[in-house]
Each structure stands twice: as C-alpha cells, then as structure tokens.
Amino acid sequence: MIVVLLSACSDSGVVVADKDTNGSTTSSTTGSTTGATTGTTTDNTNSVANLDPAAVAAARFLNQSTFGATQQTIDDLVARDNLGAWIDDQFALPTSLLFPYTRTNSNGGGGGPLHEIWWNNAVDEPDQLRQRIAYALSQIFVVSDIDAALSNAQYGMADYYDMLSRNAFGNYRTLLEDVTLHPVMGVYLSMVLNERPNETQNIRPDENYARELLQLFSIGLFDLNMRGEPIPIGNPRPSYTQETVEEFARVYTGWNFPTARRWNDTARSQNFFIGRMVANEAFHDTESKTLLNGAVTSAGWTAQQDLTFALDNVFNHPNVGPFIGKQLIQRLVTSNPSPEYVERVALAFNNNGDGVRGDMRAVIRAILLDDEARNGHLNNPEFGKVREPAIKLIHAWRALDAIPGPLANGAHSPPNFTPSRSDAILGQAVMQAPSVFNFYLPDNPLSAGSTLVSPEMQIMSEANLANTHNNYHNQVYRFNNRSNLNDDNPRVTTINLEGLTALARNAGALMDWYNLVLFAGSMPDNVRNELISYTRTLGQSDQDSFAKAQDTLFLILASPSFHIQR
C-alpha cells in the first residue's frame, strides 16, 4: 500500500498562479507558450521544493539502480542514509535466477516461462541492482532466441542469463570468459564446433565470434582515449583489422558442446546448452596467432591456453574501460555522459583502488556514485535518458503494488501482451533482440542529424508508442484493484489505486506523490498544472477521487515527461 508521508502543500498545489477554477481553460496553454517563447530554464523548474530533498535524491538513485523507485524503497534508502552502504547491501543479496523456474515450468521449448520469471524477478525480487546490471549486460553480451537455433534451448537461455547475473558483481575478465565459453553464445555466434583451417579445401575458421567479441563485447571499432572518444579525434584509427579478426578466429577453434559424445553430435539435449563448452584439441588450430598490439601465441598451445592468452590480450586493451563503462552509464544513468564522467568510470575499471582491473563492483560504484550521476540534472537540460519501455512499465507496476491476476499462477502479465511477446509491443524483450547489435545502438542519434545520442529512441516507433499507450490505458481503466476481472481477463496483472485515491482529495498532495515516486522530482510544473486543472473537472466524492486517480495516472503514464529519466 502507498503510505502518505509527504506533507500536504497548499490545497490547490498549483505553483504558477492560476485563477481558473472550472477547468475549462487549459493552464498548459500558458505553460507551453511560456516555454516556447522564452526558451529559458523556467521550462524545467518544478515543484521539487515541496518534496524532501533526501527522498528525491533517493528516488533518482533508485531509478538508475533498480527497476524503479517505490515509496517503500525510497523510505528505506532515506533511512539507510548512505548510497554506498545500500550498494554494499545489494552486493550481498542472493541472486534471483531464471533457470529453476524455467526448468520447472517448461521442457525447454517455447519462450513463455523464461519471460515470466524475468518479469517477476524484476518486479518483486529484492536483488534489484544485480538484476538491473544483468539486464544491462544482456544488452551488451547479446544472445537472442528469436534465432531458430536457440528458441528451443530455453534451459540454456536461462542459464546464460543467470551466468550474467552471477557475474554482475564479479570481474569483467571472468565474465568475458564465461560469455565466450557459454554454449548459448557458442551457438548464437557460431564458435561452437569451429574448426582449424583446411587450406587445401579453402576452408577458414569461422570469423563470427572473433569479430563481434572485438567490436561489441570489449574494444569497439576505433582506438579510444579514457574519455571514450575515438582517437585521433576527427580521424580515428581502427582498433583492429580484418587480419586481426582472422587471427582471433583461429584462437576460437576446437570447442564442443558440454555433454556431447563426439564432435558434431547432432542429438542435442537441453544439457548441451548449459554450463561451459569443452575443448577438443583435434579441431583446434595450433599455429601461432598474432593478436592485438602484436602479442603472439605460441605454436602448439591448447585451446584453453590460446583462449586464456587471447582473452587476457583483449582484457588488457586500454579501450575496454571506456568502451564498456560508457555503455553501462548509458543503460543506467544518461545517454550522453560527459567525457570526464566516462573517464572516471574507465579509471575505476582500470584500477579498483587495490590494483585490480575489471572489478565490476568498482565500476558500478563509480557509475552510480559519480557526481554527474547524482547532480548532473541540476545544470544540464539534456542529462538523463529515454527510459526503456520494459523498465518504464515495471516501474509503474512496482510503484503501484501490482499483483498478478487471480488465474495467472503468480506470473505477471501486462494487459495487451504476454511477457514473451513484449518485443512486438515494447520493441524489446529480454534476450530477444533482432541481432547481436541489440534493440538499439549506443550511438543512435536522438534525431536525424543530432549530435546527441539516444539509444532507446531507436525503438520508439509509432506502432510501439501507440501500443504501449493503449496498454497503459487498459492497465489503468480495466485492470486495477476495483476491476471485476470475472468480466475480463483474470490472468492480467492489476495495479492498486487506493493510495492514489486517498491522496486525490488534495490535488497537490497527489501531484507530490507522482513527482516523487514516478518522476523522482523531475515533473515539470506545467505538467503538474495541467493535471491539477484536470482534477478540477471532478468533484470530491470517493468516486470522483478514484476517477482523479485513474485519469491523472493515465495522463502521466502517457505523457512525454514520464518517458524520460532525469
């Protein structure tokens, strides 16, 4: 239940004087005209002054580090009064997994149970930071089961994701090797069963994994400085060549499925896709290979010796810190971090303070505790990011005490789609990207020709926006705690509107709650005023209060401002 902790402000709650009381004049006209004509920062001023600054700071932090702030998690964090200590608490929590539920509820085919448990974990489990990082990692070390080769390997898909979760607070070097040797990645980027060359037959090793590991999982296309900028600036130098790819391709030869009885064993059980691939030296290329920065493997090394050397070679490339660090910043905090912010995170990657490179805990701390993460919104109007559609919905559910429908067997499901089809509606679903390039690219321009990037804008298609809008409509009006689900779909998750209804007698207090819990203090005043004007179209009965809660909530969930995390 929503606990009303905020002190009520003035009864009207309107910040900009607005004498209109019948609701027939739109205060937003005034607001938008002001913004358009002056173009000043008055646009982004808001009623954050009504709120406890500690609570706002907590809410902002939680939107970056969890699947969305709730009144309870805000209160808890305010009481903890130490962000670093909260991070340490999260580091210590047990890991929520996908595999046990997936195995219990499926034979490995289809895609439903894996998605059900992913949504449930994101909505309800306490290890929020780990799950948020794992989701970010799943968008860097991409595998996807829209590919036919993996759609019926759901145990393996779940195991892959759990591997990311387990490594979320570990070391990047371990993560890189676990990713490399996971059979699901082996299938997805065709490293499994990759063989040494046969030059008389014009057969070369498969270059797929070699190329994507360099381009997407570690160093990127160009040499970078610690600030994440391609160098030399203006005419950047490729960080590797086609020849480098060919050499690494020879490294990644000789790996077989776990539990396979022979090379190219085609009778593949679910167990083939779980755990780590195993070496078969007969198919490994034992010639020496020239890797990054001229490092050379010794002829005759085993598959594992080559791999260890090669992954160390990649891991120690100076690009990794800024390349991976910047993408994690983009997933959690802001689309366009300053080069200085990227550099601070990269330096934490390079050295955790105890001389250890690749410590993910140090990277996560550096990202979330950085001054830019904590205060960047105060002086940069472009700070922040367009929120991922899945996270936005999960946040709304978390904030509004969503519970699974009575016939849903405990599995959350949105009104207009099942979790396993969220890609068609939201434009994203866990491990269902269209390619290894994820749902969106890190450098997707905010708009054609813009110098700002916004990865998430790449999936804000007309169809997705319309369908998610209607999903929110149905969530608010059809699937809430007062709905009679006997007349509707009893498998759909419902939200609880009683807390909002209780607040709705005081429009200002209602807006303050929205501003804190859903906006982390970033609700623009003209949005607030528009909504308060709206509430004046309704009376003061319980029915009216419930209607105010429904309508203002829908307006907020549909509004442009709620798409943005500041």
Binding site: G23, T26, S28, G31, T33, G35, G39, T41, D43, N44, A148, S190, N194, N202, I203, R204, P205, D206, N208, R211, Q215, L221, Q242, E246, E247, G384, V386, A424, P434, S435, V436, F437, L446, S447, A448, G449, S450, S454, M457, M460, S461, E462, A463, L465, A466, H469, H473, Y477, N526, V527, E530, S533, Y534, A547, D551, F554, S559, P560, H563, I564
Partner: protein, 468 residues
C-alpha cells in the same frame, strides 16, 4: 481508372499548397531543365533489406562449364548442386541459374520484370585489389554489420561524415514534395528503425507487421472505459501534455519524445481507417513468414495510396537471419523459401491491384559473403548480387559484370592476410549508382541526388539503366 486531367490538376494544387512548407525542394523550376524533380503520379518504392549479409552468390549462380566450375571450386561443399539450379540466361553474359528454391524470382526474371544487379556494394570510387591492399579510399569498417548497413543505407563512405542521411530519406523528401500538404509522412518502415529513411526534412512512420495499427485510446473520444463526461477532458489533457513537451525550449530529448508521441497519435489516426478499408486479403502466405507479413502491410498502404492522398510512397522492410556463419546449407533453404514466397505473393498482389508499373521493389544487404567456406558457413564479404523487380523494371538481364569466382589469380578477391583466396569480392557497382537509378525513376532531381550521394560523382555511369 482515375481521370488523368483531374489527377494532374489535383497534383498541381498540392504542389502549390506545399510550396511554403517544402524547404529545399524547388517546384518553380520544376518544368524547365533535366535537373528538375518530377512528380510522376503514383509511384511506390520498396526496399527489402536482407539483414546480416545475404549469401547472394548461392541465390544466383554462374552457369556455363568454366564459370560454374570456378564457383564450385571456390565454394566447395557450400556450392549449390547444378541439378538444383533453374536455368536462365543473359544476352551477353550467357547461362546462369537461380537457386531452385527461388522459382518466383526466376519467373520474374524470365518475364523481363526482374533484373539482377551484379556485384554491388559500398564504394567511395572505382576500386581495385591494389587499392584495397593499400587502404586507398576504402569504405570505413568494411565487414562490420552495423557500419556496412549504415554505409549501404546512406550511400556514404564513412559513418561520421557530413552525408549522414539515408538515400531513401532523400527520396522521401522528394515524395513529400509531391504529396503536398498532407499530415502523413510519405515513408514507412515495417522493419524497424533504419538509416535508409532518415532525412533532414522528412520523417518516416514505423509500423509493426502482425500487430494491428491501433488508434491511441483517450484521444478523439476513443475509449469504452473512460466515462463520456471525463473522456473529452482526458483527450484534451493528453494533447496538452504533448504540446507542453514539444515546447520544452531547453530539452531536445523532451522535444523529440513529445514529437514522436504526437506523430504516433496522428499517424495511427490517419492510417487506421485506410488500413481497415484495404485489408488486401487476397495476398496469401504462410503466417510465419515475417517478410511476407511486412510486405502485406506495404501492399495495404500502396492500395490505400490514393485514399491517403499520396502520390509517392517509400517503404523499408527487413528480413533477418542472413548471417549464415554456420549450418548454411541447412539454413539457406528456409531463407530462400521465405524470400521467394514473400516476393511472389507481393508482386502477384500488386499485379492484381493493377499497380505493377508504379511499384518497384529492390533488395539490399549489409554485404555479400565470402565465397570460401569456414567449414559449414560463410563469413562477411563485400560485393553481392541484388534483385530489382516490378512492372517498370527493364529486366530479364544482368546489370554489370558477374565477378570472377576463380580461386587462382583472382583480381576480384580482396583476399586474406596470409595471401590465401578468401572470396571477399570487391564490388564493381557502387551503392551510389544503384541508389541513383532508383531515385531517378522516382523523379528525384539531379541536384538532390548530388547532395544525397556525394560520391556518385566518382562514377562515370550515374544511371545503371534498369528502369524503364
């Protein structure tokens, strides 16, 4: 049939109405020189993007004893068996074969409505093997999926250059000028976000195949759940909130997301009834064929062209799964069958709508693939064959020279680092030339082409001549 006089008058009125809006498009000079744009009424251009890098060398295979032997020798176990080819011929280059799971493509070729555009790819200027080995004006980040997709779709040689807009976007800006003052963009992607349709002065609408276009509830008094006395207020506030966001003078990201929501509201409202009125149920295909489902949406929007008040339309669809590094011989049949079914069903539908002369469809892909095998698949190459079809195509022939497939002394091969043959074929036709030919058919002016495709000037042949 439409009355052509009325039609032309309507077009002229639209052009006049659009004059204050269509920045960068000169209509006044439209009738006097060959550089002018033309708005030949009713044209739709469709891009089928085979994402991942299509192995077109197994789709269209050289025949004739010598060249088939070269092909077989370089491809080894990945070569299509001679018995699995549908024989076709080119007047000057001789015998060829379509893979026999592409009978619809062969049929379009044989009825002179499909041309094969040979060995096309990203090029800054005509490029030889020695240019490649010397890294002399070579497109950026060759063999990387995303970069090569971007260069294919923008016609540029480098990603971060001034030419960052798509050549489809240049065509859609032209189409917007032709369409005049209507509130719906001329360009549609049914295949997700694409660089091809990005433009400085035109948007595109992005729809999802297999998910019905829905109007946004709460707007325009649409909702069975919000009581009527509240619904109009809700609708007004929804619009006000979008307007507030658009007017956020100091936040581009707020403006952009607000604009996107506003466009979604307008586009779905405009398209809803047009799509309802044009189900085009005569297009038949297996429901699992995602490309066909996308092309079905395209066919419905083409059928609705007049109802939507549009003269010209530009479409982008995408088919994934082409990155056949492994199990290529097992995966290609499904890819080819799906492509064949989708192309065949789509063209038959367009034919049935009597719109064949006004609809041209073409393929594109990240890159071609290596001729050589990596054991049971192929890796990222460069040049590849593409297919253009429709009633306006001068087909039944190959455009450009088929490359050399020989393992020995092959100047078309970019090679590998140990001097081995790799079969990474250096393109002979530039994306720029391919693009320009299609854009000229749509009536884009030479000036606009030069702006959109700066490297086109490096090639002597601006128009490959495959459009009537």
């Amino acid at each position: 049939m439409r009355n052509s006089i009325d039609k032309n008058r309507r077009l002229l009125l639209k052009q006049l109405a659009s004059l204050p809006l269509a920045s960068g498009v000169s209509l006044v000079s439209g009738s006097k020189t060959a550089h002018a744009m033309t708005c030949s009424p009713g044209k739709s251009l469709v891009c089928i993007f085979m994402a991942g890098g299509a192995d077109s060398f197994n789709m269209f295979v050289p025949g004739g004893t010598n060249s088939f032997a070269d092909y077989q020798n370089s491809r080894r176990d990945l070569a299509v068996d001679e018995a699995n080819l549908i024989n076709v011929s080119d007047a000057t280059q001789g015998a060829f074969g379509f893979h026999d799971l592409l009978p619809g493509l062969a049929s379009l070729y044989n009825s002179n409505r499909m041309a094969v555009v040979s060995n096309t790819g990203t090029l800054i200027r005509p490029t030889t093997r020695s240019d490649y080995l010397a890294t002399n004006s070579i497109p950026e980040s060759l063999f990387a999926h995303n970069t090569q997709q971007k260069l294919w779709q923008t016609g540029a040689g480098i990603v971060s250059g001034s030419n960052s807009f798509g050549w489809g976007g240049a065509i859609s800006e032209h189409a917007a000028g032709c369409n005049g003052n209507i509130n719906i963009a001329p360009a549609f992607s049914i295949g997700g976000s694409t660089d091809w349709l990005t433009a400085a002065n035109a948007n595109y609408i992005s729809l999802t195949a297999g998910v019905a276009v829905q109007r946004m509830l709460g707007h325009a008094n649409l909702s069975d759940w919000i009581p009527p006395e509240r619904l109009s207020h809700v609708g007004r506030s929804l619009n006000n909130l979008i307007d507030i966001g658009k007017a956020s003078g100091n936040s581009q990201v707020m403006q952009e997301i607000s604009g996107a929501i506003g466009r979604a509201t307008d586009a779905t409202a405009s398209l809803y009834s047009a799509l309802q009125n044009n189900p085009v149920n005569q297009m038949r295909y297996n429901t699992g064929n995602r490309l066909a489902a996308q092309l079905h949406m395209v066919a419905r929007l083409i059928a609705a062209r007049e109802e939507l008040g549009m003269e010209q339309q530009v479409f982008f669809v995408r088919m994934g799964g082409w990155d056949t590094h492994t199990n290529q011989l097992q995966r290609q049949p499904a890819l080819f069958m799906a492509l064949n079914e989708a192309v065949t069903a789509f063209q038959a539908t367009i034919d049935g709508l009597n719109l064949a002369p006004s609809v041209t469809t073409f393929t594109a892909s990240d890159f071609g693939r290596t001729l050589t095998s990596n054991g049971n698949g192929t890796d990222h190459g460069w040049g590849g064959h593409n297919f253009v079809f429709g009633g306006a195509v001068d087909g039944g022939r190959i455009v450009g020279d088929i490359p050399n497939y020989a393992v020995q002394n092959n100047e078309d091969d970019a090679g590998d680092r140990r001097g081995q043959f790799a079969g990474r074929i250096i393109p002979q036709i530039s994306v720029n030339q391919y693009a320009a030919t299609l854009a000229r058919w749509m009536g884009v002016s030479e000036d606009a082409l030069n702006t959109a495709l700066p490297d086109l000037a490096n090639f002597s042949q601006r128009d490959l001549g495959f459009m009537n």
